[in-house]
């Protein structure tokens, strides 16, 4: 019945595959062996229950206190930090974006430098930036704004530069042909193409920054993080609960609005 010889399963890939498996196995064994698992604290179960009950019966009174220092104020603080931080970074990252875009800068090295700087800023942990800014301008929301503002330049700059690299050169040619200057060309041919992406990425970054802003308080840079960490340390779980709910609610609402705006822009 078999007139044609049956092909054999190719063995070439086996070696590569097996060496990858071995490598992974080594990594995992090393990783798992280094973790101290001292058996869960007996209190772990208790605390989880306490946290859950705190979330389920949150401290509604904390939402609004006439003297200030309540949930709403904290959330607004956080929101403000995120807004200002994102705005500053959106503004400042534009020159970097053009610097790092290899169709705007003459020579690959120049663009490469730009990219590297953005990469550096992006990798610099923003919490550490916040800590450093606290040393500069003192603790509080302003330090948080500066940290977010600076750190976001990294990611926004990268996304924008990619956007700039993807533009259509047709309009630029057309404008040059009419005798427009460099700046005019930029304004009429480049900018309109990148604005939708610009807005979309800024909103995206804003969503992320809002989450970051809510943590900044944990290290003293303003926002709802500070009352949160206090509540945690004093084991006031119902307060932790209401703050958590507040953060989730705020982030969700902002996400929805932001998502809606981003769809409209594109």
């Amino acid at each position: 019945m078999k007139s044609v010889a049956r092909p054999v399963k190719p063995k070439k890939n086996r070696f590569m595959l097996w060496s990858i498996y071995v490598l992974l196995a080594v990594i995992y064994i090393w990783a798992l062996s280094g973790i101290p698992i001292e058996g869960f604290k007996e209190t772990a179960g208790q605390i989880t229950k306490a946290i859950l009950s705190g979330i389920l019966s949150p401290d509604w009174g904390y939402v609004y206190l006439p003297e200030g220092e309540d949930l709403l104020r904290g959330l607004l603080d956080t929101l403000a930090i995120a807004i200002l931080g994102t705005f500053i970074s959106a503004f400042l990252c534009i020159p970097f974006a053009f610097w790092a875009a290899n169709n705007m800068t003459k020579g690959k090295i120049a663009a490469g430098t730009g990219k590297f700087i953005l990469s550096f800023i992006r990798t610099f942990p923003e919490l550490v930036m916040a800590l450093l800014f606290i040393k500069v301008v003192g603790p509080g929301s302003f330090a948080g704004v500066l940290a977010l503002g600076l750190h976001s330049i990294g990611m926004l700059g990268k996304l924008f530069s990619e956007e700039v690299e993807n533009i259509d050169f047709g309009p630029i040619e057309a404008l040059k042909a009419t005798g427009a200057s460099g700046l005019q060309t930029l304004w009429f041919a480049v900018v309109p193409q990148i604005i939708p992406g610009f807005i979309s990425y800024t909103l995206y970054r804003f969503e992320i920054n809002l989450r970051s802003a809510s943590i900044l308080g944990i290290i003293g840079a303003g926002g709802i993080g500070t009352p949160l960490i206090f509540a945690m340390q004093s084991r006031d779980w119902s307060r932790v609960g209401i703050i958590l709910l507040g953060i989730i609610a705020m982030v969700t609402i902002v996400d929805i609005i932001s998502g809606y705006l981003r769809k409209k822009v594109v």
Binding site: I27, Y28, W30, A31, L32, G34, I35, P36, I37, F40, K41, A44, I47, T48, I51, L76, D77, L79, A80, I81, I83, L84, F87, S119, F120, T123, F124, P125, L127, V128, L131, L132, K135, V136, V137, G138, G140, S141, F142, G144, V145, L146, R211, S212, S214, I215, I218, I219, G222, L228, I229, M232, R235, V240, L244, I247, I248, V251, T252, D255
Partner: protein, 271 residues
């Protein structure tokens, strides 16, 4: 509204110059943005003056941070290894959890709307919680050390990977899915033979991407006591040992860039 009579000699046709669309929407948006920014500045008590005044402090700081303390490197190596461990295990746990979750969130795989809507809702809820917060909560439950950090990373990773994966699942070619239904496969066989082969390269790519993020995150979870190199920031800043701070930052940077590079290369090979 102006009317222009056309220069056609035979007939006078009246044409109207179209009205320019109103710019009110633009002006309002601009005004709104200016308002938001102004309010934010007020609320956060930000002032340019403060910043300028603080400048010399910043220079001071930068000067103290350089040169980094090279001897300190050896002290923090174990913590860096811890950080790496946390990222590896946390990402893996998250990836494993993400698989069933993504299947339940994908509208072309989950059996009915009653399944995927609620699961997506839960997923979005999980994704709103910042990772440091998760870590702080887990520290409260499990005490200090890398374990709560791993759990935090697992939950955080699951959120990212599950979302990316279910979106990928919804965009795969429906043809092979139909073929497996026609062949009489049950749900699990159907998933394994038609969904998995199409999605797996994307899935691995997402896991690597999340791993890149997790290295960065793991490096700061220590600030809330969840293990890794983060706790050293507290110590060194507390003692104003800024040169050691630089060491930590630079070390972290090196590791992150290395992982990023390897990961990006791997991801390119996959897709």
């Amino acid at each position: 509204m102006k009317r222009i009579e056309s220069l056609n000699m035979n007939r006078l046709t009246k044409q109207e110059i179209p009205k320019a669309p109103t710019k009110i929407k633009h002006y309002l948006t601009a005004a709104l943005i200016v308002l938001l920014i102004g309010w934010s500045a007020y609320q956060t008590e930000s002032s340019f003056i403060d910043f300028v005044e603080g400048f010399p402090n910043m220079f001071d700081l930068l000067v103290q941070m350089y040169p980094p303390s090279w001897s300190y490197f050896d002290d923090i190596v174990p913590a860096m290894l811890d950080t790496f461990r946390m990222a590896v295990i946390g990402t893996t746990m998250g990836a494993l959890l993400a698989v069933p979750f993504a299947l339940l969130c994908a509208s072309n795989i989950a059996a009915s709307n009653w399944i995927y809507y609620p699961f997506r809702f839960i997923l979005n809820l999980i994704r709103t919680i910042p990772e440091l917060l998760l870590a702080a909560i887990f520290v409260a439950i499990f005490g200090l050390g890398p374990l709560p950090g791993i759990f935090a990373l697992a939950v955080f990773s699951m959120g990212i990977i599950a979302k990316l994966t279910y979106e990928a699942m919804e965009s795969i070619d429906k043809g092979p899915l139909e073929a497996m239904t026609a062949v009489g496969a049950n749900k699990i066989q159907w998933i394994v033979y038609s969904v998995v082969p199409q999605v797996s390269p994307y899935f691995v790519s997402f896991v690597l991407y999340t791993f890149e993020i997790n290295i960065r995150v793991a490096a700061i979870l220590g600030l809330v006591g969840a293990g890794g190199i983060g706790e050293y920031y507290d110590k060194t800043l507390g003692f104003l040992e800024y040169d050691k701070v630089s060491t930590i930052i630079i070390f972290t940077l090196m590791v992150v860039l290395l992982i990023d590079y390897i990961s990006t290369k791997l991801r390119e090979k996959l897709l």
